[in-house]
Amino acid sequence: MTEVKANMAGNVWKIVVSEGDSVEADQDIVILESMKMEIPIATEEAGTVKELKVAEGDFVNEGDVLAVIE
């Protein structure tokens, strides 16, 4: 199991996968928006999207868990 975490504070602009999707390593999971820039957040490991912890429009802090990949 691996947790996908926000590497900076920002708003969740887009969630580009759904729960149950299988994903590859380095695949984008969530696009954050911080300081007017889109920041793609990818999973480090391949697996299945077990849980999405955030919704589009949510504000997240650095280190917050965005998704769980199994």
Partner: protein
């Protein structure tokens, strides 16, 4: 007469506008979001009003709220600064409908220049050279490929509603074009509410050189020479200077004349800037028009001795320009660097708590700053925290002064691009004025990888 101005903006530009108002004895009203309560501009203004939560739609883009504060405070004019509502024709109309002077051009001109396709058409009609490309929105990826084949790769794919470096992408072949066309159309629809795309030929070894204009309500138009803003990252400016180290006096005059003619043809009023791309043979092509004050306006102020905000107010008051083109001379050389809260190598944002903020001081050093020591930079707005402007008798003197000033500039607690700025101003190609829009890619990033 304008007696009291509400500034519908934040950060350094709000502080900059308040400063001129104070000098002229005009009262000021600041508006701020919950994220900006401690921002220096808030306490500089005569009155300040909290207008909402941090997100821009609930604060700095909240037209109803801003207008109600304007009425409550008795402001008779609104200065929109740059960004936010500054290029919204609808906002300008709402101000006028409430009997409040919008400090800027007429809404119809703003709307036309905001639609990049309409702007290209208007410039073409005014006999201003435009970058070769499409006249109308491109309907489909297939149509885009057909046009791309005619004008030749590489090509810039741009959103009609974009601008300021947002919504554009360079493509090198059919495959890239199809992919970018589909994703960028969707993105532009989401971001700007308009997915229209157009194509422009990518000009090789281009420089970004823009002309500052001033136009009064009596048909008088002058230009305040050029600014060269070629040093960019992520299609956004990082270093700007005036005059350009590249163009000849003849080209300077031609570009100035073209910009003045364009403003006259549009019936433009107040301050505005026409951005051009200039190729290695000094051919210039219209890129876009910004119908507001620019971030980099201070370099023009430094070489002309004028206060552009003051002139904006005077024009908005209906006064005639007291300057004619013949009165204007370039005095010395000025450079501005934008200090961004970001990683100097990846350009990723770096919001956080500033523990130390020590700015350089000295003769011919000017700072326009949004933050202080012990200050939180939030992720809600753009990453610019300060602008450093220096002036020298000539370019070499300005560069040397800039380097000294950057060495004195200490920001701790967050990452900034100051190491990048120092690297560039020390670069042989920069010193020689060898600046094109590819500078950061070709000289800065490549240099980092070598070391």
């Amino acid at each position: 007469m304008i007696n009291k101005i509400l500034i519908a903006n934040r950060g350094e530009i709000a502080a900059r506008i308040i400063r001129t108002c104070k000098r002229l004895g005009i009262l000021t009203v600041a508006v701020y979001s919950e994220a900006d309560q401690k921002s220096p501009y808030v306490s500089m203004a005569d009155e300040s009003f909290l207008i909402g939560p941090p997100r821009v739609n609930e604060s700095y883009l909240n037209v109803d709220k801003i207008l109600s504060v304007a009425k409550e405070s008795g402001a008779d004019a609104i200065h929109p600064g740059y960004g936010f509502l500054s290029e919204s024709g609808r906002f300008a109309e709402r101000c006028e409908a409430e009997g409040i002077t919008f400090i800027g051009p007429k809404s119809n001109v703003m709307e036309m220049m905001g639609d990049k396709i309409a702007a290209r058409k208007a410039m073409k009609e005014a006999n201003i050279p435009i970058v070769p490309g499409t006249e109308d929105a491109v309907a489909s990826p297939e149509a885009a490929i057909k046009i791309a084949t005619e004008i030749g790769y590489p090509i810039m794919l741009k959103a009609a509603a974009g601008g300021g470096g947002i919504g554009m992408q360079v493509v090198h072949n059919d495959e890239e074009l199809i992919k970018a066309f589909e994703s960028n159309t969707k993105r532009a629809q989401t971001f700007f509410g308009d997915g229209s795309m157009f194509l422009e030929k990518k000009i090789d070894n281009a420089r970004h050189i823009e002309i500052q204009l001033l136009a009064d309500q009596h048909g008088n138009v002058i230009h305040l020479f050029e600014r060269e803003c070629s040093i960019q990252r992520r299609n956004q400016k990082v270093i700007e200077e005036a005059p350009s180290p590249f163009i000849s006096e003849a080209t300077r005059n031609k570009m100035g004349e073209a910009a003045v003619n364009a403003a006259k043809a549009l019936g433009y009023t107040n301050a505005g800037t026409i951005e051009f791309l200039v190729d290695s043979d000094e051919n210039f092509y219209f890129l876009e028009m910004n119908t507001r004050i620019q971030v980099e306006h201070p370099v023009t102020e430094e070489i002309t001795g004028l206060d552009i905000v003051e002139l904006q107010l005077s024009i908005a008051n209906g006064e005639e320009l007291r300057l004619s083109q013949q009165d204007l001379r370039i005095d010395g050389h000025a450079i501005e660097v934008r200090v961004y809260a970001e990683d100097p190598k990846t350009f990723f944002p770096s919001p956080g708590h500033i523990t130390t903020f020590d700015v350089p001081k000295g003769e011919n050093i000017r700072l326009e700053t949004a933050v202080t020591s012990n200050y939180d930079v939030t992720p809600f707005y753009d990453p610019m925290i300060s602008k450093l402007i220096v002036k020298g008798a000539n370019r070499a003197e300005a560069i040397s002064k800039l380097k000294q000033a950057l060495l004195q500039f200490k920001v701790e607690g967050i990452k900034t691009n100051i190491p990048m700025l120092l690297n560039i101003v020390d670069h042989e190609h920069y010193k020689r004025g060898n600046t094109t829009t590819a500078f950061v890619q070709d000289h800065y990033l490549t240099g980092l990888h070598k070391n």
